[in-house]
Symmetry: C2
């Protein structure tokens, strides 16, 4: 799993992940707030891109944020410290080997984690055993198969497909958003509710064009240039055309659509 991880481990990615988090805060997180005194596990916090928002939205909850990577955790600690947040404690841990007692948490929160796992249903089942009865899980994932745009250029689809293929080769699934409902039901959760969160960016919404289409989505695809070429998934000319076609959707008459999925379920 660690070797397969396709984003999150370099400085430019760190910046991109923070840009993404800022642009998408309202869309993804506005309806997540946990009660005072509740114990929350953030599983797979990475560089803490969502941790800051999570902690600010639930200032009186106690948040434990774990990640398998000590390098990421160090950045997460810095992110949280720079925001003067006091209700988060970090701990290095593996979702598949958690150092907690069963039913330790009132709620579990995962954002952009399942997409990297080869066994997301197993992860959800394990996490369930750490939630108190009646507690909840909140899961947020993207779905790269939900990206469409105007002008609708083939090369743009080809570069997106590179990311889908790379993530699949690494055991992940970048089209997992649409699967949250069956995954949670299969893992034994109750009252599963999935809410799609669509990003729509045209030039009347310049903050979304900049913050999402350019600095989040296209930046992410640009970040897989070398891996895609090295893996023989695409040739350089087509890759360049694809990136150009993605930027073309950010011009005055361009449109870009993408959907995230947010699920909540009861243990």
């Amino acid at each position: 799993m660690k070797n397969a991880y396709v984003h999150g481990y370099d400085q430019r990615e760190n910046i991109r992940l923070k840009d993404q988090a800022v642009t998408l805060v309202d869309l993804l997180h506005s309806d997540t707030a946990f009660p005072a005194g509740s114990c929350i596990l953030e599983a797979g916090c990475g560089v803490g891109a969502q941790t800051v928002t999570l902690a600010k939205k639930s200032p009186d909850a106690e948040i434990t944020s774990i990640d398998i990577s000590e390098t990421s955790l160090e950045k997460a600690r810095q992110n949280v410290a720079s925001e003067k947040i006091a209700n988060v404690s970090f701990q290095q841990a593996d979702i598949f080997d958690l150092p907690f007692a069963p039913h330790s948490f009132d709620h579990i929160f995962l954002c952009f984690v399942l997409e990297h796992l080869s066994n997301p249903a197993e992860a959800l089942t394990i996490l369930k055993s750490f939630i108190k009865p009646g507690g909840t899980i909140t899961v947020i994932e993207g779905d790269h198969g939900s990206a469409y745009f105007y002008p609708n250029r083939k090369a743009a689809h080809s570069v997106i497909q590179c990311l889908i293929d790379l993530q699949k080769k690494g055991g992940g699934n970048s089209m997992i958003g649409r699967e949250l409902y069956p995954l949670l039901v299969k893992s034994g959760y109750q009252s599963v509710n999935v809410s799609p969160r669509m990003v729509y960016a045209d030039s009347s919404k310049p903050e979304m064009v900049e913050g999402f289409t350019k600095n989040t989505f296209t930046a992410m695809i640009e970040g897989i240039r070398e891996s895609s070429l090295n893996a023989g998934l695409i040739n350089e000319k087509t890759f360049n055309q694809g990136i150009k076609a993605l930027y073309r959707t950010t011009e005055h008459d361009g449109v870009f659509c993408y959907t995230f999925f947010k699920a909540t379920a009861v243990c």
Copy 2:
């Protein structure tokens, strides 16, 4: 244009279009209401599937609903009469040759019309000349390229592609939803605002699974079986597999996503 029309002209389609209208009323129309005394043109009312909702949401507006097909208008008259609606008058007319004085209407409303036209920007430009200064246009279209689902079967994409291809062959564009912003800007409208309306159907939302995935979307694709086979777009086996794959998304663990686009703009 008339010969190219791929749905709307037979009895089963009439029922399907009414099913679709009922399921989607809130999603598409809840925020459309015109002031008392205002004059509204519904351009391309078809069998009146949206006319009833339009008239009920704006009971004190005067609505003129036109369509090029007298057969469709006759059904629209019946639909409206059976609902005891009194603020709609029907008239046979061609969008490209309207029998009205310039600036006759306060607002114009079009729903599922531009997708059938080979020159949608021209239609929008013409319609603009019939709106009073400061009046608005409201446009609603689907986008068949926005359909994705779980399980993600190739054959399902193939049958959807048949409809996209058939509509394209007829001069239409079934992926026009994403283009509403550039089309309206290009046609000279101001303050263009596009709002995507995503349908998300999993088995926790049985009314959407029945009303949309089965009785609207899959029924529409089933309706193009003969035309697709006759046009040589697909073989019968793949078509059957595709329909089966679409129904598969309506099972207990299935998910279906589709997005409509609603635009408003000022003249």
